[in-house]
Every structure is written in C-alpha cells, then in structure tokens.
C-alpha cells in the first residue's frame, strides 16, 4: 500500500497520523504510506514540501477501507501482542495479517522473530544460571571433602585420640588446624559471593522477629568483644520487629559487619542498636576503632578489598564479608550505609524494611502458596495466578512448606507432586498430621505427575482449573 516515499526526512515521524496541509498523512517509518487530501492544491503542496516526484490519486472511500483493513486492524492486534509481551508473557506472538508485503507485515514478522530470539536467549540464560549453580555446588563439595579429612584427622590427633603428643607437635598441628579453618571460611565466602553474581539473589522469605536474631548475633559478638576486652552492648526496642526474610542470611550480614567492628577496634566499645524509623528498622553498629579515610570508605564494598593496617594483617579475613553482607541486605530490599572518621571509629547502618501490619492483613484474603521446584513452571504459574488478582508466595521445595501452610493465612495451596526434596503428597500429609487448625479449611491442590503441559496453551487451562477448585 506504499503510495509515496518521502525524501524529506523532516516529515518522517516514526509512526502515526499527521494532520497537515488540510489533509491527513499516514506515516510509517520513513515512508508516507497513505494520504487523505482535500484538494489537488494540497496534494501539490505535499509534493513540494516532501520533494516528491508524483502523487497517485485514489478515491477517498476506497482508501479509508483499505487503510483500516491493511493497517489499523493489524496494528491493533500487534499492539495487543506487545502489551501481552510487556506484561511478561514471552510467548506472545502476532498472527500475521494478509498484508505480508506491507510495512505492517514487516513489523509483524519482526515482532515475532524478536519474540523467538528473546525466548531463546532467556532460555539460554536460565541454562547458564542452572549450570553455574550446579558448578558452585560441585566445587563446594569437591573442596570441602579433602578439607574435612585434613581438619578431621588433625583434630583427632589434637584431642589425643591417636596417642599423646609433644608440645611442639601440638603447636604445629594447631597451625594446620587454624589454616584449614581459614580455608573453609574462604570457600564459604567465595561460594556466597559467586551466588550473588549474575542472576538475581533469591532469598527464601518467612516472617521472623529481628530482635531474636539480634540477640543471637549479640551472643556471638560479645564473645569476640570480651576476648579483646572491649565493652559491648545490644539495644532493641520493646515491640517486635517483624521482618519477612531469610533469618540465617540476615544474621550472617549482621555478624559480618559486627565482627568487623570488633576486629578493627583496639580499645573502647562496640554497640549494636536497633530502632524503628517509619516503615523500616535501622540497626546501627558503632565502634571506637581505627576508622577509615574517605578513600578507604569508597572502596569498602569492593571484593577482596581490605583496609590496610597492622590490625587487618593480624586479624586475617578475606575482604568478602561486607560484599556478602550488602548482597544479603539488598536482597531483602534493604541498604547499608557507612560513616567513619579516621582514628575515631565507624558507624554502619543496616536498614531493613519492616513487615507492615497493613500488608499482613490485606494479604490473607487472596494469598496463594505455590510450591514448585521447576523454576520456569513456578514463575509461569505465579504470573498466571497474579494476573487473576491473587497474591502468590512461592517456595521451591517442600521442607519449609508445612510451617508456611500452617501459619501463612493462605486462600489455597498449590503444590507439585514431585518436588526436589519431598513429594507433594508428603508435604500435605505432614500438614494434616501437624494438627494445624486450617487442615481441611483451605483447598490444597496437587499437580499430578502426569500433568504435562506446554508453557503456552495448557497453562491457562490449568490455572482456570485451579481457580475453579479454589471456589
């Protein structure tokens, strides 16, 4: 339907209808694909304006119908598909209109092939991510196995289980032991950091009271502080600090920062104070340690960076602790800020979002717990359910599921029969046996072993079936 090609790019709007010169111009890319002009004079004006050599005249009525069929209708379906795509449905494609040779047809084909390419790429990235996870876990196992033997036998000898030792033998074995320990914590840190790279860090969330976690950290830190004869204090508010997160990870982050504070303090005190600030909790860890220069502070979160001082040489460490702490805190939607004066001490603030009361109340109405080990299927199901207005909590394994089903206030539970740790049926059985009040009160749906569905057409049917079962 190309009538004219514009030579003047000033008229070349990306796409759209232009009201100009007493008429309408339909422009697609740099091509004028249609014109509805009132008179021959206007046509001549366009001709001059656009530097065209000729204009083909077509009766207006015919033109409008053709325009609708060949452009407006296909564009409508194209923009529909784009919208679906934007909503995250990567399988969205457009059915090519008959005008295969037109600009619109070209757009449709481009959109579809873009979709194919992106789907392939995303699939590839997932595969890379999966391989990386597998690699990390294999390396972890391969490195820790010999370490287990080394430190295990050394400890046996140190404990005198293999006979009495001379003082020197004891001392030397002690050196082997402490180095094996260092290697172990280095491996653990490296594994954590490698998990944080690339793919989004995922934390398994469940609500907990931060005050207990802080007390637990306080116990560990107090031992460290006592050994250096430092004052140590923990202050928490009286009201609970509810946080939705991975308790172990949060503790790890706080301990990493807290042990740094102790490490870089020679005399004086280390304190840990938590207080509510709006929708968040702020944990302030202060010390009267050696402090940092501005330059040192700016490099603080670099991997393997360590503030240069006699202290850091004595104390050891990998320079990964803060990187890991920040990784976990950010994965919880929080942040870490640092304030320090050389020679006076440092102040690190950990900010974590609190689980708001409003949220917990609202959530109990349309909340669904989805337990599925296959990550692709899980996110597809979750999205499909979310599109229907449910709030979906996701778990990738059965082990922690029972507690969540018991206490999560869910509208329904959807569980796959084959999880990577337990069977779905086992999880449901455990829930029943737990004597929870909501047994029988909320529907639990087991996606059977035979439920094979492709990720496009079958999915919607499955979701509809699930929702029917909820109601």
């Amino acid at each position: 339907m190309r009538l004219l090609r514009l030579r003047d790019r000033s008229l070349a709007f990306q796409f759209g209808l232009i009201v100009a010169l007493d008429g309408l111009l339909l422009v697609l890319g740099d091509a004028l694909v249609g014109a509805f002009l009132r008179s021959g004079d206007t046509a001549r004006a366009v001709l001059i304006e656009a530097g065209l050599s000729f204009i083909l005249f077509i009766p207006p009525g015919y033109l409008l119908i053709r325009l609708y069929r060949s452009i407006a209708r296909p564009l409508e379906s194209l923009s529909d598909s784009i919208r679906r795509y934007q909503d995250g449905d990567l399988s969205a494609r457009v059915t090519p209109s008959s005008a295969a040779t037109s600009e619109v047809g070209y757009l449709e084909r481009s959109f579809n092939s873009m979709g194919e390419r992106i789907e392939l790429m995303v699939g590839g990235l997932r595969e890379v991510d999966r391989l990386k996870t597998e690699f990390v876990s294999t390396v972890s196992h391969e490195l820790k196995t010999p370490l287990t033997a080394i430190s295990g036998y050394v400890r046996l000898m140190l404990a005198g289980d293999a006979g009495p030792l001379s003082l020197e033998q004891k001392e030397f074995l002690g050196i082997v032991d402490s180095n094996a320990m260092r290697l172990t914590s280095l491996i653990n840190d490296l594994l954590d950091v490698s998990r944080m790279e690339g793919a989004r860090v995922v934390v398994e969330k469940s609500p907990f009271d931060l005050r207990d976690a802080l007390e637990e950290c306080g116990k560990t830190l107090r031992v460290l502080a006592d050994s250096k004869k430092l004052e140590f204090s923990v202050r928490v508010p009286e009201a609970p600090l509810r946080i939705d997160g991975d308790r172990d990870r949060v503790i790890q982050a706080i301990l990493n920062i807290g042990s740094n504070a102790v490490k870089y303090t020679v005399r004086g005190r280390v304190s840990m104070d938590a207080e509510v600030a709006g929708e968040s909790v702020v944990i302030t860890i202060s010390d009267t340690g050696i402090g940092m220069t501005q330059a040192e502070m700016s490099r603080l979160f670099e991997k393997f960076y360590r503030v240069r001082s006699k202290l850091s040489e004595q104390e050891g460490g990998t320079g990964l602790g803060l990187v890991i702490a920040r990784g976990w805190i950010e994965a919880h939607g929080g942040a870490i800020t640092v304030d320090s004066t050389l020679g006076e001490g440092s102040k690190v603030r950990i900010i974590l979002p609190l689980l708001s009361k409003v949220e917990t109340v609202a959530d109990t109405t349309g909340r669904i717990l989805l337990i599925q080990s296959d990550a692709d299927l899980r996110s597809l199901l979750a999205r499909a359910l979310e599109r229907r207005g449910y709030v979906v909590d996701q778990l990738d394994r059965g082990a922690t599921a029972v507690e969540r089903i018991r206490t999560g206030g869910y509208r329904a539970v959807v569980i796959d029969s084959r999880l990577k740790d337990l069977s779905g049926a086992a999880v449901l059985e455990l829930w029943k046996r737990s004597g929870a009040k909501n047994v029988g009160a909320i529907p639990a749906l087991l996606i059977g072993e035979g439920t094979q569905f492709r990720m496009d057409a079958g999915l919607d049917r499955l979701v509809s079936a699930l929702i029917e079962a909820f109601d």
């Binding site: 876990s137 972890s140 196992h141 820790k144 196995t145 370490l147 287990t148 033997a149 080394i150 430190s151 295990g152 036998y153 400890r155 046996l156 404990a159 289980d161 094996a180 172990t184 653990n188 594994l191 398994e204 172990d248 394994r397 059965g398 082990a399 922690t400 029972v402 507690e403 740790d421 337990l422 086992a426 455990l430 737990s434």
Partner: protein, 131 residues
C-alpha cells in the same frame, strides 16, 4: 535395638569418601560404639534393612542413592522410621533449610568439615546418652 543400655550402640556410617568414613569409624569406636561403614547409598539401604542399628551417620552426596533418598526410604519403612540420623553435608546453608522439616524425626545436620569431638557429642545427644 539397644538392650537395656548395656550393649554399646550400633552405628552405621553411610559415607563414600574412604578417608572420611575411616575418620568417623575410628572416632566412634574410640568412644566405645560399634561402627560399620557402608560405602554408598545402596549398600547403606540394604544394611539398614537386614540388620538392626541404633543410629545412622549419613552423607548426602553418595553414589547409587544420595542421602536424602536413603532418609526418605528410612522414614517410610516400619523398621527404621524412628532411628536417629546424623546427616553430613558439604553444601552448607541450603541444606539447612531442608533439615528444618519436622518430618525427618530425630535428625540433625552437621556441616563438613566437622570436628570429630562435635560429631561424637551430636551422636551422644541423638542416642540420648547423657552428656
């Protein structure tokens, strides 16, 4: 089954790494228990079926059957549903989540590398033999 607390407990060690298995066996015998090694998950399963044990030390990454599979079978069987299990893992935190499940019954997780003394303490606690 344990006979009136007079006989030392019988402990099966399911661990494929020879050096680690020997380390555990040495420590357990030293501490007065009867210990035997099963070098893979399959052999562990059949030894659990054919003989009586008071406790299982179970590695996760093993050939034939992994530790979780052995544990699942164990809990499903009438004979060993209640036997205490000490699981060893080199994979760390992710496994800790799994271990929180009350379904595992008397069950504990010990991270590799471990101190043999700590291993013994865990076993004593699982067997209910006073500290």
């Amino acid at each position: 089954m344990k006979l009136g607390g007079m006989m030392p407990a019988r402990i099966l060690i399911a661990e494929d790494e020879e050096h680690i298995a020997r380390l555990i066996e040495f420590k357990l015998r030293k501490d007065g228990w009867i210990a035997q090694i099963a070098p893979d998950g399959g052999q562990a399963s059949s030894l659990l079926k054919t003989e009586d044990w008071d406790l299982l030390v179970l590695d996760i990454m093993m050939p034939v059957k992994d530790g979780w599979q052995v544990l699942r079978e164990l809990r499903a069987s009438a004979k060993n549903a209640a036997i205490p299990v000490l699981m060893l893992t080199a994979k760390g935190r992710t496994e800790r989540l799994l271990a929180q499940d009350p379904a595992w019954g008397r069950f504990e997780l010990l991270a590799k590398p471990f101190d043999p003394g700590t291993l013994s303490a865990h076993i004593r606690a699982l067997l209910g033999e006073g500290a």
